[in-house]
């Protein structure tokens, strides 16, 4: 498969750098549009490497006023959104209403575009996992303070997975749901966090660092935000019944 793709992967490296241009760029973009998972993954990995180049630069702290400028802009955006429907003279009102409607349609379309692209990418990743014969489909059981919680974990030992959870309590401020893989004779390894909605449902795509030992048990725990070294909070879901 890699040999078949050698031609595309060569272009993928230059594409990831942002330097591909002309006909080669158009051809490669058309190829990516065919949902080639190999090239998409290769470009993503190459970008991860290249996007470390900025670390060769000395960090420069921007003027404090810049942060204020940005937060003021966020405030203004809120004010505009709230103030937009206020009454105006008829003709102007119509123009404004038209402009707002056009703007809203634009915002909705852009939102739908990005949401759909994100959803498509996520769906493609899940389908790839399901296609992979090495992927395991594990059930997660509620544990500790959350016996009602449920979950599923698609996981392959290449270190990629997707976790779905339901019936988890709303997160207290400053807390997060952390996902761990536990290999034999190894400490639990943090592989990501799950954001849940108001109904307690959530999902996350997981990629473990290369070289990690294959996980045997999988768990979700309630942690203080930023906890990644080892689970310290209660386990709320686990792949084997407690």
């Amino acid at each position: 498969m890699a040999t078949e793709h050698e031609h595309w992967l060569e272009r993928g490296e230059i594409y990831a750098l942002g330097a591909l241009d002309g006909q080669e760029l158009r051809e490669f973009q058309a190829h990516l549009d065919t949902d080639c998972a190999i090239c998409a993954a290769y470009v993503r990995e190459t970008r991860e490497t290249l996007n470390l180049l900025h670390r060769s630069l000395r960090r420069v702290t921007p003027r404090p006023e810049l942060k204020s400028r940005i937060t003021e802009q966020l405030d203004r955006e809120k004010v505009v959104a709230i103030a937009a429907p206020q009454a105006k003279p008829a003709a102007r009102r119509q123009r404004i209403a038209g402009a707002i409607a056009a703007g809203l349609i634009g915002i909705v379309l852009v939102g739908v575009f990005y949401r759909d692209r994100h959803r498509e990418a996520m769906n493609a990743a899940i389908v790839n996992l399901l296609r992979d014969p090495a992927t395991r489909d594990l059930r997660l059981y509620g544990a500790g303070p959350t016996p009602q919680a449920q979950g599923r974990f698609l996981w392959n030992d290449a270190g990629e997975g997707h976790v779905f959870v339901a019936h988890l309590p709303a997160l207290p401020r400053g807390k997060s749901y952390a996902v761990w893989t536990i290999a034999a004779h190894s400490a639990p390894r943090y592989v990501g966090a799950i954001a849940t909605d108001a109904s307690g449902r959530g999902a996350a795509h997981i990629k473990s660092p290369p070289g990690a030992a294959p996980g045997e048990t999988f768990a979700v725990s309630l942690e203080n935000e930023g906890t990644t070294a080892a689970p310290a909070g209660p386990i709320v879901l686990i792949s084997k019944p407690s």
């Binding site: 490497t49 180049l53 003027r63 937060t71 802009q73 966020l74 935000e225």
Partner: protein
Amino acid sequence: MTTTEGAADPIALIHRIAAQNRDAFSQFYDRYAPIVYALALRMLRAQSDAEDLLQEVFLQVWRQAAGYSVERGSPEAWLINIARSRAIDKLRAIRRRERSFVLTDDPAAAESSDNVETAAGASETRLIMNSALANLPEAQRRVLELAYFDGLSQTEIAARLAEPLGTVKTRMRSGIQRLRGMLGTQAA
């Protein structure tokens, strides 16, 4: 795997920003603004342009945090990608406006070699990157820097260096592959 500087998990911060949490945005800004600003200064060189870019990038983060997923890479890679894309757009707009725009060798090269060689007092990751760059053959490093920091395409680099396009491509790919080999998985 581990979060740097003991800060909150950046993925969790992005999720909270998507829910319009200003405190999370503030933490995210404090953590990443210095690296985005350094990149903006390096690419655009003018302080006012770099400040504008910084503002645009973080406003985009605020508006599009819901669109982030790990599929797009680490939070740092996602953010740097946004910053680079916007900076390259600006650089290309400048070049279109100023037909006679010519990158002088001195500023970029001087800064580049300074960045590569002045390691004293730098952070560990900066040392690693400087070491990786310093270990690239000069010709490979040059084409990578022209593409990454100056936003030049392969054709523009070939014209600028007066080298055949094929040579430039080979150097780019060899440089990338060497970097991959040297850096492995240093991503945050």
